[in-house]
C-alpha cells in the first residue's frame, strides 16, 4: 500500500499554524507598526547596528528560515482547502495541490537564498 503524504503535509501545516500564531502578531506589531512610527528605537545609529547584528546571527537566520518555510506550508495547505471548499474546486485536486505546495517550496528556496546568499 502506498503511504499517504498527508501526515507530513499536515505536520508542516500545523507547525506553521502554531509558529505563526505564537510569533507573527508581535513581529508585525514591533517591526511594521511600532518601529516605523518611532514608538521604539531601531532606525538611528547604535540601535540599527544592534538589530542588524541580531538579524545576522546564524541562529536567527536558521530560526527565520524554519519559521518562514513553515508559514509557507501553513498557507499552502489552508489555501488549498479554501479553494476546494470556498470555490468548489476539488475536481482540480492535482493542479491546486501542485500549485500551492509548489509555491510553498519556492518560498522556502527563496527564503534560503535571501537568508544565506545575501548576508
Amino acid at each position: 500500500m502506498r503511504r499517504s503524504r498527508e501526515p507530513i503535509i499536515w505536520a508542516l501545516f500545523g507547525g506553521g499554524g502554531m509558529a505563526s500564531a505564537l510569533f507573527m502578531p508581535v513581529l508585525i506589531l514591533v517591526l511594521f507598526i511600532a518601529m516605523p512610527l518611532g514608538w521604539v528605537q531601531g532606525v538611528q545609529g547604535a540601535p540599527f547596528a544592534e538589530l542588524q547584528a541580531l538579524v545576522r546571527h546564524p541562529l536567527t537566520r536558521l530560526g527565520l528560515f524554519v519559521f518562514i518555510s513553515l508559514c509557507w506550508f501553513h498557507w499552502a495547505h489552508r489555501f488549498r482547502y479554501t479553494l476546494y471548499d470556498g470555490l468548489q474546486l476539488s475536481h482540480l485536486n492535482e493542479l491546486v495541490a501542485v500549485m500551492t505546495y509548489g509555491i510553498a517550496i519556492a518560498g522556502t528556496v527563496v527564503g534560503a537564498v535571501l537568508l544565506w546568499g545575501v548576508g
Binding site: S20, P25, F32, G42, T82, D85, G111
Partner: protein, 136 residues
C-alpha cells in the same frame, strides 16, 4: 437474471450549491475568514524577508523601508493585517485543546489547562521577541 430486467438506478440527486455559499451564514463566513488568514500569514512572511533584505543592504535601505512603512496608508494596512493575524492566533489557540490530548501517566490533562498553556506560550513568545527587538 431475466435479460429484460434492468437494474434500477435512481437519478442521483445533487443539490447545486452557490459558489459563495459561505456568505449566507455568519458562522460560515467566519470559518472562511479564518481559512483566509493564511494568506496574510504568507504576506507577513514575505514582508519579513523583505525587511531582512533591506537590513542586509545597510542602514540607508533599512531607513527607506521604515519611511515607507511609516506612511499613513501603510500603517493602516498593517494594523488591519495585525487584526487578521490576531484572529488567526485566537482561533488557532482555541482549537488546540481539541487537536492535542495531553496525558500525564494515564490521566488526561483537562482541556482548560491545555488552552491556558497555549495562551501562556503565546505571552512568553511575545515577551521574548519584544525583549530581543526592543530592550535587549
Amino acid at each position: 437474471m431475466n435479460p429484460k430486467y434492468r437494474l434500477y438506478y435512481p437519478r442521483w440527486y445533487r443539490k447545486r450549491i452557490p459558489i459563495f455559499w459561505w456568505l449566507q451564514k455568519r458562522s460560515h463566513a467566519a470559518f472562511m475568514g479564518r481559512e483566509l488568514t493564511a494568506v496574510f500569514v504568507a504576506y507577513a512572511a514575505i514582508m519579513l524577508m523583505v525587511l531582512v533584505l533591506a537590513m542586509d543592504r545597510g542602514q540607508a535601505a533599512f531607513a527607506e523601508m521604515m519611511d515607507w512603512l511609516g506612511t499613513p496608508a501603510v500603517v493602516v494596512a498593517h494594523v488591519l493585517v495585525l487584526c487578521i493575524l490576531l484572529f488567526h492566533t485566537i482561533t488557532w489557540l482555541n482549537l488546540a485543546p481539541m487537536a492535542i490530548v495531553v496525558k500525564l501517566g494515564d490521566r488526561k490533562v483537562p482541556a482548560a489547562a491545555v488552552l491556558i498553556g497555549h495562551y501562556a506560550a503565546w505571552v512568553a513568545c511575545t515577551g521574548v521577541v519584544a525583549w530581543l527587538l526592543i530592550w535587549r
